[in-house]
């Protein structure tokens, strides 16, 4: 589904967005993600296609606000039956139960919202949105009301169900975990939509420094292109000179940004791109070890899986040499 929308208030925003499968609109708070969803749902004024000129109640969208907005006075099945008012009473309940079944929570049909957990409420709200038979699903920060620790467990199943539905889904989120699992990612900043494409492309090849920060690049260095040959470029940076996959826009002498994801620092034992430094600030983050490698005045952030630390036995203060995979070093225009 192609979306071309312009809104003035509460944020000024104009964008063309391609929604395909499960699409995450990634951006920090305040850039207008929620406003765009509300505009699409007809809840705030905007111009553009699709649904131009239709009132909220006439738009075929399934809108799910951040806190799910279940009607507190209605049981789960009555909530799901709310958009089914055009059906005779007997069919309403039957159909509502079918949608609850689809979300895997048929057994909660008679419960009131206050008797359900956050994850359960979310599934009821999704079943209700689906009962509207929408042409597009709009989800506002679906993982923010869930506990981080159980997010994967609670939302993972929902995500699989949503992906299998074949309904275009636009998700406003700043959650990288969620964006990494999307079909498509569109990055929204204060300057508008800056990049959209398949999730792996946006996460490995961010178009700008801003996008790189947003998708979790911690290692970002200013550099200059010192050599070009075939598919490769040689870039001078505060860490040394590195061989890097050559983007088609690169020119000799050009100032660039060099980016590398923390989890891709320990990838190679080859002869290229070797960096030596002193290990500091080791700390466990869940089952992964985060640390820094001090190289001259620069710092390289890294994230190690547990088995790797078991092999290496890193300790703070020790000297360490790593090799950086040329294909994982990413260049962006400065």
């Amino acid at each position: 589904m192609e979306i071309a929308y312009a809104l003035e208030h509460p944020v000024k925003l104009k964008l063309n967005l391609h929604v395909q499968g499960f699409t995450v609109l990634l951006g920090e708070s305040g850039v207008g993600k929620t406003s765009l969803l509300k505009a699409l749902a007809g809840l705030i004024p905007a111009t553009g296609q699709p649904f131009a000129g239709l009132r909220a109640e006439e738009r075929p969208v399934g809108y799910l606000p951040q806190h799910f907005a279940l009607f507190p006075h209605l049981r789960a099945w009555q909530n799901v039956a709310f958009p089914l008012a055009h059906l005779p009473a007997a069919q309403r309940k039957q159909k509502a139960l079918a949608y609850l079944e689809q979300m895997g929570i048929a057994e909660l049909a008679e419960r009131f919202p206050r008797q359900m957990s956050g994850g359960q409420q979310q599934r009821v709200a999704l079943a209700r949105a689906l009962a509207r038979e929408p042409q597009i699903l709009l989800l506002d920060e679906p993982t923010s009301a869930l506990d981080m620790a159980t997010r994967e467990e609670v939302f993972g199943g929902v995500l699989e169900r949503l992906k299998s539905l074949q309904i275009p889904t636009l998700v406003a989120s700043h959650d990288q975990w969620l964006a990494q699992r999307a079909h498509q990612v569109a990055v929204l900043t204060r300057r508008g939509l800056v990049q959209q494409g398949p999730a792996d492309e946006v996460f490995t090849r961010p178009a700008t420094l801003e996008v790189a920060r947003l998708v979790g690049f911690r290692n970002l260095f200013e550099g200059r292109v010192r050599g070009l040959e075939g598919d490769w470029a040689w870039v001078e940076s505060p860490l040394g000179v590195f061989q890097v996959a050559r983007p088609d826009w690169s020119m000799l002498g050009q100032k660039v940004w060099l980016g590398l994801r923390s989890e891709e620092v320990f990838t190679l034992d080859g002869p290229q791109n070797r960096v030596q430094g002193r290990v500091r600030r080791l700390s466990w983050q869940g089952l992964r070890l985060r640390g820094q490698l001090e190289v001259g005045g620069a710092v390289l952030d890294f994230l190690l899986p547990r088995y790797k630390q078991a092999q290496l036995g890193l300790a703070e203060g020790q000297q360490l040499e790593v090799a950086l995979e040329p294909r994982f070093l990413h260049l962006m225009p400065s």
């Binding site: 809840l43 109640e57 907005a69 507190p72």
Partner: protein
């Protein structure tokens, strides 16, 4: 209570209170919604005006109403009818005087309503009629009812306004609180005591009901908005 005048007075008082409460419901619910959720120029002025009867001496309000509704008042001159010293006058005075009590209840009920619910209901295909009947009223009714009961109880015991606008014509415009005052003036302490006890019990029962409704209401609110 053996005085037939008291029972006629009581009946009139209940009639005035009921009609007043009904009018407040029709007037106050939309007004409460607007004050809770809309922003517009002059809102603070409007809020101050509707809250004014809380601090204004009832006799002052009654005096202005008497001028407005009386024989030589602007209403009589423009439309040719006089509501002073009549049932209608009592109702107009009571509506204005009890408005802040009803309105506070309505406004609080609407204010604590999560607007996401309304927006979501619309995206689910509900027009404004369904939104009001199936979402707003079913969730906020305890607050609306408690505002109405408070206004009703307040009208029951009204004195200053109804004395000014209605006079104290027994059986026609005499309300219970004025009846009690008249009995005391006539040194009929027995009747005054009985009438006072009846009002005390009624008021207590009504306020108790309001408190109960408030608890019901709180327990209905979803945890995310509490």
């Amino acid at each position: 209570m053996d005085d037939p005048v008291f029972w006629r007075t009581m009946r009139l008082t209940l009639e005035v209170s009921l009609v007043t409460t009904a009018i407040l419901l029709l007037l106050g619910v939309p007004l409460g919604w607007v004050l809770a959720h809309k922003r517009f120029w002059g809102k603070r002025v409007l809020e101050s005006i509707v809250l004014l009867p809380l601090t204004l001496p009832p006799t002052v309000l009654g005096f202005y109403l008497l001028l407005l509704l009386g024989q030589n008042g602007p209403i009589a001159q423009t439309f040719g009818f006089t509501w002073a010293f009549r049932f209608e006058g009592l109702v107009v005075g009571s509506v204005l005087f009890s408005l802040p009590f009803a309105l506070n209840g309505y406004r609080e009920a609407f204010r604590s309503l999560d607007l996401d619910l309304i927006q979501t209901a619309r995206t689910l295909g509900a027009g404004w009629r369904r939104v009001w009947l199936e979402v707003i009223l079913p969730i906020t009714w305890p607050g609306i009812l408690s505002g109405s009961i408070l206004a009703f109880a307040h009208t029951l015991g009204e004195f200053g306004v109804v004395l000014m606008v209605g006079g104290s014509i027994p059986g026609k415009t005499q309300m219970v609180s004025i009846y009690i005052y008249d009995q005391v003036q006539a040194l009929q302490f027995g009747r005054a005591a009985e009438a006072s006890a009846i009002l005390l019990l009624a008021s207590f029962a009504l306020v108790y009901l309001v408190r109960t409704l408030e608890d019901v209401w709180r327990s209905r609110m979803p945890s995310s908005t509490r």
